[in-house]
Symmetry: C2
Subunit: 206 residues, 2 copies
């Protein structure tokens, strides 16, 4: 099994390759990627070596080929259907972000607030929350984003999992109990701020 | 140096202790915390042992004492002044979230858009971006949140660091070059979605 931090760095390398690709660069050295991503040259080579032998010593990596290969490894080379649960502050910000650039297509949103049902934000319609399972299954959705209050998170996850979802990204600060081998990933904004607070304290203690 | 994952789990234990504290619970066993946070009992005990000997074998931990101690370790026992740069989709969602519950007080926001300058969101006033350094220093701000487009992230970080900031939490998907020993933490929403995509692919490959 690949360490999660390697996968995170692959995503960072991909972003750097996008920037170089736009400039028409055809060859990239591991040293260049390392510098753009603020990691060591040997780490870049080690990360990429998990996936086969790309570069020629001293010449560098063929950029379009490397980029295509990482997109494939991450499963980003095909469109993934996504739904969003909870059209509040965070949900609204997510509906307005261009996730399509990486082949994530948010095709529906759900909310319990009757005042939000029927709205269309950035081309995405809001449906009533009780239709979550039914539409997830009918539309063949793979990923569900949870942006509901913590007390509604498990219930919302259950509705998505009943609809056959494969992965969940949750913003609610509460652990979700997975079912049927569903993958759960978290974005914990408040926790990141608390870790930052600890690190600042730590610097002061030294 | 403490592993970052231990600090992340401390934040999770704190959330569980908050829930139990509201119910008036006075004693908590490591097994209970482990169950609420979906980790093993031995991991809870190992994490807490970094900070001294809290619990008595078989009796459990004194909840108010343990909670107070973790708040102290994380530096959450005193108010931390925060500013937000970029009042767009993400920035607006952050201004509306009750960070005060953990002693983070957002006291000012900054934006380059003249249409946003002068607005007051959730009691927080928006100032022009060129005042970032001056007000950060004058108000003695410790933490800066960056929610500007990627191409403006380094410049915004430089303004915060010139103003004497101690830590930065950035939502922009670009590595920031730190100066004067400033701590930088990231929230990478798009990267979390890409990691989720990889994990889903991985499950299919097995
Ligand atoms: N806003 C932030 O900066 C921030 C920071 C940290 C954590 N979070 C977490 O992210 C989540 C979303 O936060 P927010 O600020 O957008 O909250 P919010 O209150 O603005 O929005 C929540 C939305 O979910 C809807 N909802 C409630 N129950 C539902 C259900 N069962 N099914 C579908 N929709 C439901 C509500 O009608 C509302 O529109 C919360 O769990 C919060 O703790 C947010
Ligand atoms: N919205 C999302 O779901 C999401 C997802 C992933 C990543 N992000 C990242 O988070 C950041 C914020 O995203 P957003 O969707 O809120 O963007 P946005 O475009 O809605 O908001 C950006 C705000 O920053 C302001 N701004 C621009 N330059 C500035 C400067 N130099 N100083 C101060 N303010 C400045 C703009 O006027 C605008 O109000 C971006 O870097 C984006 O890539 C957002």
């Amino acid at each position: 099994k690949l360490p999660r931090n390697t996968i995170r760095r692959l995503s960072h390398y991909l972003r750097c390759l996008d920037i170089l690709d736009l400039k028409g660069v055809q060859l990239v050295k591991s040293r260049e990627l390392a510098c753009m991503c603020r990691v060591s040259d040997s780490l870049v080579r080690r990360d990429l070596s998990y996936f086969g032998d790309f570069g020629k010593k001293g010449v560098g990596y063929n950029l379009p080929e490397l980029r295509e290969r990482i997109l494939q490894i991450m499963g980003l080379d095909k469109v993934r259907k996504v739904v969003l649960c909870g059209v509040g502050n965070i949900g609204t910000a997510l509906l307005r972000y261009p996730f399509k650039e990486r082949n994530f297509e948010i095709i529906a949103a759900f909310d319990t607030d009757p005042g939000k049902v029927g709205m269309v934000i950035n081309g995405i319609r809001v449906y009533p929350a009780e239709k979550t399972s039914e539409l997830t299954r009918e539309l063949g959705v793979e990923i569900g984003i949870i942006a509901v209050p913590p007390e509604a998170a498990q219930r919302t996850a259950d509705l998505l999992m009943e609809g056959g979802i494969e992965g969940i990204l949750s913003f609610a600060l509460i652990p979700i109990e997975p079912k049927n081998d569903v993958v759960i990933q978290y974005v914990e904004i408040a926790t990141e701020l608390e870790i930052l607070s600890f690190e600042i304290e730590e610097r002061k203690r030294r």
